[in-house]
């Protein structure tokens, strides 16, 4: 088989299911990741009832230390709502980027993929700010079980977002150098599936951590 024929075969998957193997693999991986985040979220919920006895601060409840120091509820819903909204929009943007990639429209691809990246970067930046802010207010991993399960849960989600940003940025560079052509749009589609998944997980984490008292 010549190189050319190999590429043609890659563009039209000749698999038993008709689904490209890489696409099936990312779906499989996502299925596995569901259990990863389900366990982390369960860990957060399991401790939710017991952490109130420990030292504050807490997400939704004010707490007065034995020494009389008052800790206000620590969660800031407006900022995180903005981050959440932008993350959700980024899912739309990556769909638009993919549509442009499939049509071979490099400018549209660069624009929408760039928007996706900016949203992702904003979200990561928001999280860095939030973590720093919490530490200044006296909440660390060690403070109480809210601190521990909050930082671990949102931290691992943030790591996933960061990996997604790195992945999409690599694709943006390839697109910029004209190497993400229409016949290779599957590369973007796979990254986009991962990106959507990371968004959907946040759709669960956001109400669990921020909205439910």
């Amino acid at each position: 088989m010549s190189d050319h024929a190999a590429h043609a075969a890659a563009a039209h998957p000749d698999t038993a299911t008709g689904i490209d193997s890489r696409k099936l693999a990312i779906w499989t991986f996502i299925g596995s990741e569901c259990l990863f985040f389900a366990t982390l979220i369960s860990n957060y919920l399991v401790h939710k009832e017991t952490w109130l006895t420990g030292p504050g601060p807490f997400p939704h409840e004010a707490w007065t230390s034995p020494a009389g120091k008052v800790f206000e509820p620590i969660i800031e819903i407006p900022l995180v709502t903005l981050g959440t909204a932008l993350l959700l929009f980024s899912s739309l943007f990556v769909v638009l980027a993919l549509a442009n990639a499939q049509r071979g429209n490099r400018r549209g691809l660069l624009l929408w993929l760039g928007c996706t990246l900016l949203c992702g970067l904003f979200f990561v930046g928001m999280q860095v700010y939030e973590f720093t802010h919490f530490v200044h207010k006296g909440l660390t991993l060690k403070t109480n079980l809210f601190g521990g399960s909050f930082f671990v849960l949102t931290g691992f989600h943030g790591t996933h977002v960061s990996i997604g940003v790195l992945w999409l940025f690599t694709l943006w560079i390839l697109a910029w150098r004209g190497k993400l052509t229409a016949d290779k749009s599957l590369n973007l589609e796979i990254a986009a599936l991962y990106w959507h998944f990371v968004d959907v997980v946040w759709v669960v984490i956001f109400p669990v951590v921020y909205l439910i008292k």
Binding site: A6, S21, L24, A25, T28, T39, N144
Partner: protein, 612 residues
Amino acid sequence: MATTALGHRAHAAAGHAEPTGIWSWITTVDHKRIGILYGTTAFMFFLMGGIEALLLRIQLGSPDNTFLSPTTYNELFTMHGTTMIFLAIMPISAAFFNFIIPLQIGARDVAFPRLNAFSYWVFLMGGLFLNVSWLFGAAPDTGWFGYANLTSRQYSPGINVDFWLFGLQILGVASLAAAVNFFTTVLNLRAPGMRLMRMPIFTWMSFITQVLLLLAFPVITVALILLMFDRFFGTNFYVPSGGGDPLLWQHLFWIFGHPEVYILILPAFGIISEILPVFSRKPLFGYAAMVFSGIFIAFLGFGVWSHHMFATGMGPIADTYFSLVTMLIAIPTGVKIFNWLGTAWGGSIQYKTPMYFALGFIAMFIIGGLSGVMHASPPADLQQTDTYFVVAHFHYVMFGGSIFGLVAGAYYWWPKMFGRVLNERLGKWHFWLMLIGFNVTFFPMHILGLNGMPRRVYTYPAGLGFETLNLLETIGAFILASSFAVFLYNIYRTWRGPRNAPADPWNGATLEWSIPSPPQEWNFAEVPVVHGRDPLWEAKRERSGPLPEPARVSGEGIHLPNPSYWPLVTALGLTAMMAGVMLIHHLGPWGILAGGAIMLFGIFNWVFEPAG
């Protein structure tokens, strides 16, 4: 072997010479070579785990023995369990997944050959990582289950638990990468005509195993992450004084741990479901029932974890639920056993070594299964918990089940893997020594356990009536070890003999027997077309006789993936990163950053090199 054939083969994009010698093994992406790497590495670890067991048995051979210190005893039983589960049974199964699945489904390789190499290298690193702890005199000593809060900094201040924690984390990456790969391979790379319900039963059981791996390993990953945060970063997830809950560990561990039991046994189920029909000269009895009972076992496997925790006092509702669902598993398992018996029933049985081990599997596994049903009853379980009765039970399913099945598979597929049939007479010596040694070792443990001998205790006083049976068990353990000496000698003798195995030494039914032994690098010169469940038997029936010996072909023009060393570099980076976390209080973030950089470097080069 294939070097002469490869000399003729034009290399697509790479244009470089085919690597040879050790470099060809380091860069290989061939599923058959990776399978052999998995098999040999895992067998080495199996021997190590066996030596650990012998040391434990010497210690327990007589009362008040001082052969091992309590500390060493703890380290040995922890490493024995961890090694046998994660470094022996799982990767020996993975060796068969690698070598056999692509051949059974008529594929040229797995879906992601380099990811496959990555899985192997990560597994090797994880195994070495765990065992390097011996050199530091700090082997893990908290049991393979690592119960909180024994694993906390307070009670385990040393680095022993850290080796275990990060070693398992590394091994988890290997298992998950392999599971994604084989899940995709089985679904996507089946030859034309091989519908799901025509797949060989070993491929089916392996496929179910991949699903279990995909869904169970993330849970232990998180459980270990939480333990890491407790030990290194001051959280209190499992620490009662900080509001945490040690039982959370047990729940998370067994939500992983019980499916893990089926991860260990389902491949063996698949192997003997291949062997019984071939050596009974009859198709597998109740193929569909076998497939669905396998699926049912896997499904129920996620709903029974707390039967490992009856002694924690969960209350009558939880006890009742977990007890009932556990007993329910006896139904699909019983279906399998009756179908195996139905397969052999009335067959023209060929008494070859693989068949011996397959029949031995059925008998031993039934004993282990029956004591399993006994544990399912909470009042009985409360008597048996933490006694040798439990040790007897899980060795009957893990050794009497998994190891008998895997050894059966080794004798069955050895000619396909290496082109040499293992010696029958030595094989039968192996079988009888193993069967007798196994039962002499483990059967008395039932009695000792019911008489109250606790497990995980390094010695026992004289005068409790434990002496005779313990001495007997120790003798049995050495008989068992001698059976593997016979196996090693058999391998050595066969190795020195001629490579003359025919393509189909056993009158097999599945596609792997249609190609030369050992197969050429591309497996199938022409992709086969499948019309039924036993394609080779159908072909033989049509010809009214055996098939002609397949010729070795030049392979000119067959497209194969290029060799690559980037999977190894990535695996090294991953391991360095884990070691970096372990040493974070000594190196600061630099170890993690260095390891992460190597890993990223590996990934980027991997992604952008021509895959071929």
